[in-house]
């Protein structure tokens, strides 16, 4: 189990990579218009399958919404 902070909320997850995290969260990693940052740095989509997550990582998972 890894303790992460995901979108501002603490969570215990059993995943090793961003791709696995998305799946675990019920998000299709192939879905378009997604973006992920770990500890304030964007992780390119191509890195999701390999980018390892460490305990305490702060993860942001975002997508576009309507805006003004």
């Amino acid at each position: 189990m890894t303790r992460l902070r995901i979108n501002g909320v603490d969570a215990e997850v059993r995943v090793a990579t961003i791709a696995e995290l998305l799946v675990e969260r019920g998000i299709d990693p192939r879905a378009r218009f997604l973006a992920v940052a770990v500890n304030g740095a964007v992780v390119r989509r191509t890195e999701w399958p390999v980018a390892a997550l460490s305990p305490g990582d702060e993860v942001e998972i975002v997508r576009p919404l309507q805006g003004g």
Binding site: V62, P64, L65, G68
Partner: protein
């Protein structure tokens, strides 16, 4: 492409209306209004994944038909604004960003000091930056100096519909700005948009005034026509104002005189 395109960062636009995508009664009305507005550039926000409603598929609907301009709305620190811009670039595959950096959460008024620093850094990171700022000619000059592609001074408070509170300042900015000036925030009705163009603005950004009107599709058409009208009037060169009257009909040959 018309013969008087708006040029931003080397990209030409036939439409001088930048449209928001928020606050519409529903998605279909939004799509019809965007269509009626003639816009080619629409703004979006970047938000954390959640289980919210229709917005999930919003991008699919608009990304094909319009260039997207993600914003950093709601950010109060340069750090968050920059990260949001980078996430937007990754999510939407565009290096354009409408940079918003709020200094007062009630007024949604820009923090000019942080804004200039964030804009500077984003330009260095390769972004095309369009900052939401205030009607401060010195701030606008600084934003141009750090390489912003345009400046977006407010007409009045976001969502207020108060129109252009300080026309003299907007006109001053337009006469001096080395980059396009896009009037952002405060537009309430068509004549406000026409006035913005007459003052010398290169484009107008509108969201609430269309989305929250009683008939957004019709108001979108109104704004489109108003911006065209204001632009044409600016190019045509208006008559001077004078305090006294001047007859239009001939003075001589009056019957009975």
């Amino acid at each position: 492409m018309n013969d008087d395109p708006l040029m931003i960062a080397g990209t030409a636009f036939s439409s001088r209306l930048i449209a928001g995508t928020a606050r519409y009664p529903n998605q279909q009305v939004m799509l019809d209004a965007l269509d009626a507005s003639g816009t080619e550039l629409v703004t979006m926000s970047i938000r954390r994944i959640s289980l919210e409603g229709y917005s999930g598929s919003l991008v699919d609907l608009v990304s094909g038909r319009y260039r997207l301009l993600p914003n950093t709305s709601g950010c109060v620190t340069a750090r968050d604004a920059i990260l949001t811009a980078e996430l937007a670039r990754e999510a939407l595959d565009t290096n354009w960003v409408k940079l918003e950096l709020i200094g007062d959460r009630d007024l949604l008024y820009p923090d000019v000091e942080q804004l200039v620093h964030a804009a500077d850094e984003l330009v260095r990171k390769g972004f095309v930056v369009l900052p939401y700022c205030n009607e401060d000619p010195v701030a606008c000059q600084k934003l141009a100096d750090v390489g912003c592609a345009a400046v977006m001074p407010l007409g009045s408070l976001i969502g207020s519909g108060m129109g252009i509170a300080n026309p003299a300042a907007i006109e001053l900015i337009c006469t001096r700005s080395p980059v396009p000036v896009v009037l952002d925030a405060g537009i309430g009705t068509a004549s406000d948009a026409a006035q913005a163009m007459e003052l010398g603005c290169d484009a107008v950004m509108i969201d609430t005034a269309i989305a929250r009107s009683h008939d957004p599709v019709r108001m979108a058409a109104a704004m489109r026509a108003a911006i065209e009208a204001g632009r044409l009037a600016r190019l045509a060169g208006r008559v001077p104002k004078q305090r006294f009257a001047e007859p239009s009909s001939p003075q001589l040959g009056l019957v009975g005189s």
